[in-house]
Symmetry: C2
Amino acid sequence: MIADQLGLHVSTVSRVLHAKPGEGLRAASSPTVERVRKLADELGYQRNPHAMSLRTQRSNLIGVLVPRLSDVVLATIYEGIEEAAAESGLSTFVTNTRDLSDVQRARTEMVLGRRVDGMIFGDAHADTGFLDEVAARGVPFTLVNRRAGRHPAVVCDDRLGGRMAAEHLLGLGHEEVAIVAGEPYASTGIDRTSGFVERFREAGLPIPEHRIVHSRFDARGGHEGAERLLATGPLPSAIFVVNDFGAIGTIGALRDHGLRVGADIAVVGFNDTPLAAELPVPLTSVRSPMHEMGRRGLHQLVRVLEGEQGETELLRPELIVRASSDPELYAALTRKTAGA
Amino acid sequence: MIADQLGLHVSTVSRVLHAKPGEGLRAASSPTVERVRKLADELGYQRNPHAMSLRTQRSNLIGVLVPRLSDVVLATIYEGIEEAAAESGLSTFVTNTRDLSDVQRARTEMVLGRRVDGMIFGDAHADTGFLDEVAARGVPFTLVNRRAGRHPAVVCDDRLGGRMAAEHLLGLGHEEVAIVAGEPYASTGIDRTSGFVERFREAGLPIPEHRIVHSRFDARGGHEGAERLLATGPLPSAIFVVNDFGAIGTIGALRDHGLRVGADIAVVGFNDTPLAAELPVPLTSVRSPMHEMGRRGLHQLVRVLEGEQGETELLRPELIVRASSDPELYAALTRKTAGA
DNA sequence: CTCAGTTACCCAAACGTTTGCGCCAAACGT
DNA sequence: ACGTTTGGCGCAAACGTTTGGGTAACTGAG
């Protein structure tokens, strides 16, 4: 640090530059403080984070694991995390695990090897074995996107979201419905499905097993899931797909089968991704506050780092009705097209 | 390091553990080497990266700036970067700049403050002022996604991609075409547009100014761009949108105007995002090798870090024809629907 | 004038590595 | 038997901070 080339000791400079306003009052005399501050930003001084981390055993780094960043849902959540982290003076480290357990393990070790202060998992599996281990090692972490076990998590109230979708379709008179349920290890898919199923059961319309198929979370997954659904038994009048990308794939499959979404069959997605509204037949979707989820997740982690108990938060979803399920909106849409 | 609690000096252990195979032969005797190695992974030893970075002045960290990670194009490029980085023993630090110059500056300082070894910019602006400054400061970096000035960059051959789109539409007999050209500061939009324009000019069909509108790169941007296009003058028979998300927005706008994509008007996008194929009317798109672009970008940076000269690479695009522009494919599509 | 109580600093250890240098002993050459 | 090489390792400095513990000089009370 060249800053002590104005005759001061490095420790004095350190105190001046990094004393918390609450404590460092007796750091130095105000003239010295001025001199130091001045020279510091004249030289564009930035403290060396490695030296600091080494000394303080704190890196101000946090590691984030997600299944795929190219999934807009996770990317948006991560944007929230990063934004909140920056506000708290933390930096984040994000990496893909493709939802593979061994990659999760490997990347976790990697990230921990970088001496992060804490972690955020966006790719928790329902089988909590791995997370339990991590917790047992004393690593501070929180979950976002998916919950698992009793670990603190910030997620959408997915069960409620599923119920909302069900409520909507029930209100439209649908009785034969099917679900593209996502991966069986993801709480998002599980909870959304069970909320949906639950509401239909309450309405006296239990959904048979073969009307529920699992699938990957991307467009291809939704496509394949829908194909399997269409291959077996009579056509449902509506399909609930637990994520928008999957819904888009499902729409593609329906199109391949000559079915018009919104007219021949209703489709409801989840997350209300920005694309939902722009689709040729706009997609009804349950909106989840993804960005906010990331922000809250980071805040929870900060709490944990401060020694408090992490809490689980359920964020409220909201149903956005569009033409893919609402006959009136669909009619309005085709009216415009016909009029052209 | 507790590992020297078997009687060895820390320096010896250090040598044993991190000698490059090429040189460290005289590090220690093979029995000692064994003992050290054994204890090391018994204890799960991981070297402290902060201490190491402090000592060696190398962090093995690289900073990545992108406009938005929630744009699947950038997210995919980043996945490539991260994958290649992991293979090279590097870790990456990614952050959004929302394409705002002051955020770019601020985040760059932040990232540099973290003492990264180099940077990758995915958000270069055509105005190279900022990048020139960074280069002048001696920061090693490469560009991906967009090129700018003479700085080494790995990008799609966007001009060629634009020509391909033009060629395709010319082949189909289109004469009145329009362009939703993206942000005016992004080389992607600029080059794709100019390639397209160039090819049409060569065919004796210059495209008038008012048929080219700028737009944001997201779905809303494409929507608004198309609206402006539709508000002025006679309808074109085809629209080239410089990115898929924008194309989806454009499709939404066309739908709002009662136009059937593929029948009343052709649309061609760019990037061949996974959604393109799944749209109700599948989208013709110029595929760009996004993942590979990220990988190559990282490799270029590694080269620069090794003191070599960074090179600019143009990756080959590929035209994927689908129903949104091809009458036959569109007919096949509606035939299926009608047949249901 | 003395002495306690500030005020404004400096000192030095410690964080965990890396690395040039040097030392000892064994091996080697003649 | 006596230099010389070399294998195997230890020493200590250095990287840039933070932080508990000083210690002078100054201040004001008695």
